[in-house]
Amino acid sequence: MKISKKLLFAYSFLFICFSLSLLIGRYELDLTTLWSVLSGRQSGTMAANVFYNVRLVRSVEVLLCGMALAVSGFLYQSCFHNPLVSPDTLGVSGGASIGAIIAILYFHDAFLLRQAFSFLGGILAVLFSLLLSRLIGTQKRLNLLLSGIITGALTNSAVMTFKYLADPVTQLAVIDYWLMGSFSLINRSKLLHTAVIIMPVLFLTVLFRYRLKILLLDEDEAQTLGVNVRRLYLLCIALATLLTAASVSVSGIVSWIGLLAPHIVSLLFQTSFEETLLLSMPVGAAILLLSDTLARSLTASELPVSIITSFAGALILFFFLFLRRRRDI
């Protein structure tokens, strides 16, 4: 299959998921109402209000976060030569959790502070991992991975301490909800803050795709081909970290998308690095859109989205591996 065909296929699927996410919800919108809202004949009505202020904002945010998580997962997997690595390998999620929890516990969960703190927390955790791996020395890739695990354990311990100290009635529930991820508190300004980070970073990643591909090679080989591997490596980590931190800071921890999307792409289509990168975006976004739609429409009160992504992710991955096995025989 040609890349243009694969992209058309993936983006059509994304378009369907995006439309479903716009239509389905507590307030039902059907296609005719949607059309009249879009053509501006319903301004000021409830339908228009729901569509523009709630549904559209949320769906766009979910779309962006899905793309960001999928791409950052793929970048980390490529630069660590390890297919099991996920966006929070270097401690992004842990750091972001600490930031968010500090905002919840000590700053009255003030508007936007939670987002800013968790974003910074995520970045700081990765810098800490980089510093640790510097201290350990040699064997760069493996060391950084191990440093990430150490950072993850430390942040985990801190998160548990905070939870232990939190007021069980008011604060603990908020913390837990954050740790399971949800897009329910999206508004326009949050969307704006994530979009200004995620969109340019995705653009840069796509722009530099042929260069980033070199990370698949052994470090010595890449260097003798004339590439400054260290700089490239840091660029890759910076891009992936910004994507994850921007996404996690607005939604809390959404698991599995970063692991799932690139694998589905490579199981579905036999692709090159740059194609997997391009295809992971619509696939990650589509999965997250479906999950979020389910999370807010399955039950009377809204479910945390990681419940859906973890469950569906496990099923989908098994399904694809099973299909591949059948095909191999």
């Binding site: 080989e221 003798t224 740059e274």
Partner: protein, 260 residues
Amino acid sequence: MIEIKDLYFAYRNNVVFNGSSFTLEDHPVTALLGQNGEGKTTFMKLLLGLLKPDKGEILLDGLDLGKLNEEKRSKLLSYVPQENDDSLIMGVSDFICLGGINRQGLLKGPDENDRIRAKQILTDLGASSFFDRRLETLSHGQRRLIYLARAIFQDSRIMVLDEPVSSLDLIRQHDFLRLLKEYTNKGKRILMSLHDPSLAYEYADAFVFFKDHRPFAVLSKNDPSFKERFLQAISELYDNRIRPEYIDGHLFLNCEQINK
């Protein structure tokens, strides 16, 4: 011509080069000979800039290699490592075109001309059928050819190969070395390490013998009384446990029994 001046290098406590100085004259094919762990790979990595000397310098035609950045160095030296990464998942033509990554620019992938060149290189190597294949579907030996193709694509002046034939069967070893030899007809230079002195004798023009972490002999086929000195060097290399002799212009080696 490669000049090594007063080279010091150590891995933690393990000193590999302790003030070595020697010169490699310009020959089409230069072979590095020596037992395992005697510094051949380290020497190649120092030359390629993958390791930094603790002291001393390596000059290529008077140019200090240590002062060049990766990009400039990649125009002078290409590298075929000893191990291929068997986990690499990539199309063969994509992989070969990576050899020209700097010519293709920062934001662009290989274009139509690159593909045509990659295909031509594979055809010259007698492996044109691999062009549309994927790396992960090739055997270990077939991949050696693809790595060679990438190094040829890189089009550097000197190609450095670490034990290029150690994992190939006998016939393929000769095929591979013959291809390398042909490649030097276009003015390119080969520097490689080899385990088998008789293969080296057959295909190389100059020889560096490593022992006790130091090159103890540098010979070329043009040297006066080359043949005798070559035999002496081999005997010394293997502590007289190998008896080399020439039969019909080829080098044969007999290994003595271990526990006599």
